[in-house]
């Protein structure tokens, strides 16, 4: 008899079900992972409640860690029992971007939890190329945060932050909170955190922000310009994905500063002429950041994240606010979508 497992599957936008299904079987090049922790990404609630997946039903979830349960006959670099985390993007391996290691720019990628079955289940089948071993000292919950940590690092590298420079992050959800920790690791002098939730700003301060601004009560542009004697901030990363913060991030940037747009946005951005004028006159560079890089060169952002988690300067525990069982998933997604209560990183422990 085929072994059964619990899985959280999407049947249509808003129709999320917890079901007993067959444990999937890996092919020769794949690995079966027993999932130990799987996180809710900022993109997941919209995906589940509104946007939907690419086919139905699909098991959701792409930020995860676990133990290897079974390996395909051609898999050589991993063996059962090993603790791993998994990059969620499956590169085609054939396009020009894959050929230079820029899997995040792959022309025809697949993705756990939206384009193929994901990890909000007891088991998931993954490709060997997506696997990374968890170092000693990195627990499963932290391992499940490697994806947001690496997405934050990717944006930080795009920002070109150098030692002694000032840094601001707009939107301090889990990715923004990792960005603050990266800014510290990369030697930022002053770190500004901007959000509209005090709960998140409290964590931001705890993780190293030198200034926190609740934009509900304080005009962040005015505050940052005052604190920098009118010069503005050299490196700015936007993770809120709102047209308001996107425009603010340009206005707080210093001359020759960088603004990285990393927050997914569904609205048009209108740049007022005065902001556009500042963009020109200050020679501000706006750059997008998408996903993260797990190819070896120039930098495997996933390995760097795991290194600093193991070393202790990249902390996940303060970012994790909730832990649920798979059975609670439909109700939890409803609550997150309705914004009933405060949520930071939400983990499911299958």
């Amino acid at each position: 008899m085929t072994k059964k497992m619990k899985a959280v599957r999407l049947y249509a936008p808003g129709d999320l079900r917890v079901e007993e299904i067959d444990v999937p079987t890996p092919n020769d090049h794949q690995v079966l992972v027993r999932v130990r922790a799987v996180g809710v990404c900022g993109s997941d609630p919209g995906r589940v409640m509104k946007k939907g997946t690419y086919s139905y039903p699909t098991t959701i979830g792409h930020e995860f860690s676990g133990e290897i349960a079974e390996v395909g006959s051609q898999v050589t670099s991993f063996k059962p029992g090993e603790r791993v985390t998994v990059a969620p993007l499956i590169p085609c391996g054939k396009c020009d971007y894959c050929k230079v290691g820029k899997y995040n720019l792959c022309d025809s990628y697949s993705y756990y939890g939206s384009r193929t079955d994901g990890a909000m289940a007891e088991y998931v089948v993954v490709e060997e190329c997506d696997l990374l071993k968890l170092p000693d000292g990195v627990d499963f919950e932290s391992g499940a945060c490697t994806d947001p940590a690496s997405v934050a690092l990717h944006a930080m590298l795009k920002s070109d932050l150098k030692v002694g420079e000032s840094f601001a992050v707009l939107g301090v959800g889990p990715i923004g909170l990792f960005a603050i920790q990266w800014a510290k690791i990369m030697g930022a002098e002053k770190i500004f955190a901007i959000d509209i939730l005090d709960e998140k700003l409290d964590v931001a301060r705890q993780l190293g922000a030198s200034y926190v601004v609740n934009a509900k009560n304080t005009d962040p542009v005015k505050f940052l310009l005052e604190e920098t004697k009118g010069k503005g901030v050299q490196r700015v990363v936007e993770f809120a994905g709102s047209k308001v913060t996107q425009e603010q991030s340009v206005r707080i940037a210093a001359k020759e500063g960088t603004v990285v747009f990393g927050g997914i946005s569904y609205e048009d951005l209108l740049i007022p002429s005065s902001t556009l004028d500042a963009l020109l006159r200050k020679e501000i560079r706006i750059v997008g950041a998408w996903n993260s890089v797990f190819s070896p060169l120039p930098a495997n952002e996933w390995k760097i994240s795991l290194h600093f988690m193991a070393e202790g300067s990249l902390r996940c525990a303060p970012i994790i606010s909730h832990r649920f069982s798979l059975d609670e998933a439909p109700e939890v997604f409803q609550r997150i979508w309705n914004k009933s209560g405060f949520f930071n990183k939400v983990l499911f422990i299958p």
């Binding site: 150098k162 990369m186 030697g187 930098a299 290194h307």
Partner: protein, 348 residues
């Protein structure tokens, strides 16, 4: 006033000299601390093409402004300051593009001008005009602020190397400069730094810099093999040579990864700089090789800020010895013994 004057090669005398006059646009600094640089020792023993005795040496200087010349408005008597010693002409293409350290007519306090081993030191007008005086941030002592000068030189040396988060770095030479390079690389997020020296005592400081620093005693082990073993055969992203040894320069080329960067930070003795680098290593591995010379006002300001915020210079007690001016020879002797990091002279 009292000053330590280099009267000839091998001859340094502490004596009374006339106090310098302040020139229009210049400044006089009451010296609070002046650290001895390795180059000071070299100059005293072997001379220097930039030093014509009699000369007061000392270019890692901090103090308090005691007099401002006619027309100086942006500095006040009483300000605690650190001096940026290498002064460009302010007119050439390099100076006007911010690379003042690359000025062909570079003149340096403690070399072409009298330096800080004296109770009072004159800062020339052209230095004041170009802002070669940085205020010392609050909470930073005069002794510790002397570290800004060598640290700024390291900041300058690392600028073209793009040391970034997650990278592997090797530093050959565990003196103050080497340790600064290690600290700077860590402050930028380097995930592993190899520190290499032939003197095991000097490597002991590395343990104060955290577990990402790996020491290699190169008198016992082949440093190239060690680095290769510990990087899965790939080598380091960046190798910095922080000692005046030609053989070490080639070791850096050997231990750097393909497409890596090498800094020849430490200069070689005059007439002994040719014939060490295997250029085929540069050619086939596509290595970038960079030089380093002196530093700029902006780099000095960053150095002061890193020292004040304790991101560099606080894990290790760099100032190991302090002597009054009339014991400068004892200070030089301590350096010769090789048991010190920084020796600071306090003339006042």
């Amino acid at each position: 006033m009292k000053a330590a004057v280099m009267e000839n090669i091998g001859e340094i005398v502490v004596k009374e000299v006339s106090r310098p006059e302040v020139e229009p646009g210049g400044i006089l600094v009451g010296v609070k601390a002046c650290a001895i640089c390795g180059s000071d020792v070299r100059t005293i023993e072997h001379g220097s093409s930039s030093v014509k005795p009699p000369r007061i040496l000392g270019h890692e200087v901090t103090g308090v402004i005691v007099e401002v010349g006619e027309g100086v408005t942006n500095f006040r008597v009483g300000d605690p300051v650190a001096i940026v010693p290498a002064i460009g002409c302010g007119e050439c293409d390099y100076c006007r593009s911010g690379h003042t350290n690359m000025c062909p007519d570079l003149e340096t306090i403690g070399f072409e001008f009298d330096g800080g081993f004296a109770e009072v030191m004159a800062v020339p007008a052209k230095a004041v005009r170009q802002g070669h005086i940085n205020k010392i941030p609050e909470g930073l002592s005069f002794e510790k602020a002397t570290l800004a000068e060598p640290l700024a030189c390291c900041i300058n040396g690392q600028e073209p190397l793009s040391v970034s988060v997650g990278q592997n770095v090797a530093v050959i030479g565990a003196g103050t400069i080497g340790l600064f390079h290690v600290e700077l690389a860590l402050s930028k997020g380097a995930s592993k730094v190899f520190l290499i020296d032939i003197i095991p005592e000097r490597l002991t400081y590395a343990s104060l810099l955290g577990k990402d620093v790996v020491t290699i005693n190169s008198s016992e082990k082949d440093p190239v093999k060690e680095v290769m073993n510990q990087t899965n055969g790939r080598g380091v992203d960046v190798a910095i040579v922080a000692c005046p040894v030609g053989a070490a320069q080639n070791q850096a080329l050997q231990m750097v990864a393909r497409r890596g960067r090498v800094s020849l930070f430490g200069g070689l003795p005059k007439d002994k700089s040719i014939g060490y680098l295997d250029s085929n290593l540069i050619h086939y591995k596509e290595v970038g090789v960079f030089g380093a010379h002196a530093s700029t006002v902006i780099q000095n300001r960053l150095a002061l800020s890193l020292l004040a915020s304790e991101r560099v210079g606080s894990a290790i007690k760099y100032v190991t010895h302090i002597f009054p001016l009339n014991q400068i020879k004892e200070g030089l002797a301590v350096i010769k013994k090789g048991e010190s990091l920084k020796v600071v002279i306090k003339p006042n």
